[in-house]
């Protein structure tokens, strides 16, 4: 039986690589000195692509792989995949929902606490010896603050459940209202931002949601408001975010994602009301293994003609 070619776009997880290597002929695109050439060379045998939040099967790649049957993403966000093209060509797409929901929601709350209570800043304060000269200043209480969620999907709901344990009133914006929740719905992000103290981006990235948090929204959130992004960098107009923070029009930010990862605007490095994480929303040993198992499971199901475990297309 001819061995199945699987193209992995960038390094993402060594356990996943190992498991794919055992089952398939794994082509590691990042090891190629000339990528287009490498793809041409192996296009005949590549029937699957494995990407993640940083790199996906775009139109160009899909066109270059005539035998492509399935794209299995090591992520729940699929903004890097040309879904329309996949539908057009009958290419299946799978992703990793549910297994990572809790980790991302945990981190969203962790960011809220870290920003409001200045955890990173005061850890620096202790390590630098400043505590010997005096107490750290007063910070802001988290319990009871109104949390506004953009996107009340799996992750948004998990964030709401956790914030409720801190007695935080919850409000949200989504494309459509969710009738079976008791949370307060606002028909626009601007109104949501005007009525909450902590605004968290938890929706998927599409053409409609790009820069959904813009200058106006940040001004509405205000000098005491805190913005949390565990979605995608392009959800927020990044240059506007930087000036809002530097000018004090926005009270603080907790960011796990950026418009051009791994680049992070250096103007933010000196701000004590900002927490900067290197896209670690799902970065736990447990969750990455569960995600890897799901990627492999989906590929196995596809190549043995069984129903896919977590299809999107």
């Amino acid at each position: 039986m001819e061995s199945i070619g699987v193209l992995m776009l960038i390094p993402m997880n060594s356990y996943l690589e190992q498991e794919l290597q055992r089952r398939y002929n794994l082509f590691k695109l990042w090891t190629a000195p000339q990528k287009p050439q490498f793809i041409k060379e192996h296009a005949d045998s590549i029937r699957a692509v494995v990407g993640n939040a940083f790199a996906g099967a775009d139109a160009e790649l899909i066109e270059a792989l005539p035998r492509l049957e399935i794209v299995s993403s090591f992520s729940v966000g699929v903004d890097k995949i040309d879904l329309a093209k996949c539908r057009e060509k009958g290419i299946r797409v799978t992703y990793t929902p549910d297994v990572l929901t809790e980790d991302v929601a945990d981190l969203a709350i962790g960011l809220m606490l870290a920003v409001l209570r200045r955890l990173c800043e005061s850890d620096r304060y202790v390590r630098s010896g400043k505590w010997k000269k005096g107490d750290y200043k007063l910070t802001t209480k988290f319990t009871g603050k109104t949390v506004g969620i953009i996107g009340l999907g799996r992750i948004g709901m998990a964030i709401a459940k956790r914030a409720e344990a801190f007695n935080c009133p919850i409000c949200y914006y989504s494309r459509t209202g969710k009738p079976d929740t008791e949370y307060k719905y606002y028909p626009s992000v601007l109104e949501l931002a005007s009525n909450c103290q902590i605004l968290v981006v938890a929706c998927s990235l599409t053409a409609e949601t790009r820069h959904i948090v813009n200058r106006e929204v940040m001004n509405a959130l205000g000098p005491k408001g805190v913005l949390i992004n565990i979605g995608r960098g392009p959800h927020i107009d990044e240059p506007e975010l930087v000036s809002a923070l530097v000018e004090g029009r926005l009270g603080g930010a907790g960011l796990d994602v950026y418009e051009h990862e791994p680049e992070v605007p250096e103007e933010l490095f000196g701000l004590e009301n900002v927490v900067l994480l290197p896209h670690v929303g799902t970065a736990t040993v447990e969750t990455r293994k569960a995600m890897a198992d799901l990627v492999v499971g989906n590929l196995e199901a596809h190549f043995s003609n069984k129903p896919l475990l977590s299809p999107l297309v």
């Binding site: 606490l113 005061s122 850890d123 505590w131 007063l138 344990a165 801190f166 927490v275 736990t284 040993v285």
Partner: protein, 336 residues
């Protein structure tokens, strides 16, 4: 005010004569922000502003003072100090903890104690959860990594650990411990506890001793007060029972943990990490901890929020006003 006392003989109280007297040995942290609220309502005798040694100041100026305001910082309210205050009937402390007050002396003399009650339980619980997430998910460590420009050059930061499903052992299920438990349940954690007495209002598994709790937990969160029984209760034996992947969070008092043994266990990898807001000898922090990325350090700030300080201020003033108008105290401590 202070300069007069250096050159003139002790004068009868000349200012704020209508206001009731309250003696303070040391300014509580809340004074940095809300001093005026107190001085408008009470005649404050501030021992630290006087050039007189403490015993002289108290003898000369506080003979008829019935109420004291103190905090966890500053000199302990010992039997000796209280003997210099023959009219003392009430000690109000801005802390929840009472380890700085001679409780036996208070009991013997019928001196009432009012503390911070539950006014900052939520803020302390929030900090405990924040520290735990930080250790598990390497928040402060990876924020440092990004700020040093390492994400672009060295690649991804090492993976953290999932909070969901972890077994949390709460040491001391009082007001703060209960708030911590309630929060962590929403993250899918499993709660157990050790406390002086089993609590009927929760269904969490109860362990009679801390070592057993540690052996059955992935995380220990210290939420109890410092007493003779709890001093150094968390020692090497307990830490080894917690294990190499175990994490400890302390928002109680530094001395509940045997600090030298904790440092050793962390340095040798006998436990997985720690989130610490309190230390045995504040503001000194063992330097070995500065080398460790699996440790998050905070400068005893669990109650230092604008909201808590304002609430605390209102409660302290409320207690003093109640006392002086012979009404029940708002946050009386049962001292039996």
């Amino acid at each position: 005010m202070a300069t007069d006392q250096a050159t003139t003989p002790p004068a009868p109280e000349i200012q704020s004569h209508d206001l009731s007297q309250v003696i303070l040995l040391h300014p509580p942290p809340v004074f940095n922000y809300f001093k005026d609220l107190f001085s408008k309502k009470f005649h404050l005798l501030k021992a630290w502003e006087s050039p007189l040694p403490l015993h002289e100041f108290l003898t000369n100026h506080a003979h008829s003072t019935q109420a004291m305001l103190c905090s966890g910082t500053g000199p302990p309210i010992s039997a000796d100090v209280m003997r210099l205050l023959p009219s003392l009937r009430l000690v109000v402390t801005t802390s929840a903890g009472l380890n700085h007050i001679d409780l036996t002396e208070c009991r013997n003399r019928g001196i009432s104690i009012a503390n911070a009650g539950e006014v900052f339980s939520e803020d302390v619980a929030d900090l405990a959860v924040g520290l735990l997430i930080d250790v598990f998910r390497k928040v402060s460590a990876s924020d440092r990594y990004v700020r040093h420009g390492l994400w672009a050059t060295k690649g991804d930061y090492p993976l953290g650990s999932k909070l969901g499903g972890k077994r949390i052992g709460i040491v001391g299920l009082g007001s703060i411990g209960f708030q911590v438990a309630k929060r962590l349940e929403a993250f899918g954690c499993n709660i157990s506890y050790n406390s002086r007495k089993r609590k009927d209002f929760v269904s969490y598994p109860f362990y009679t001793n801390v070592r057993e709790l540690a052996a059955n937990s992935d995380v220990l969160i210290i939420c109890c007060g410092l007493t003779e029984q709890t001093r150094h209760m968390i020692n090497r034996e307990v830490l080894l029972a917690l294990g190499k992947e175990g994490v400890i969070v302390n928002i109680g008092r530094g001395a509940i943990i045997h600090e030298k043994e904790l440092v050793q266990c962390l340095v040798q990898g006998e436990i997985g990490g720690a989130g610490l807001d309190v230390f045995e000898n504040e503001p000194d922090v063992p330097k070995e901890l500065f080398e460790l990325d699996n440790v998050v350090l905070a400068p005893h700030m669990a109650v230092f929020t604008t909201e808590s300080f304002k609430d605390l201020c209102d409660l302290m003033i409320g207690n003093l006003e109640a006392f002086f108008s012979k009404k029940p105290l708002l946050s009386l401590v049962m001292n039996e």
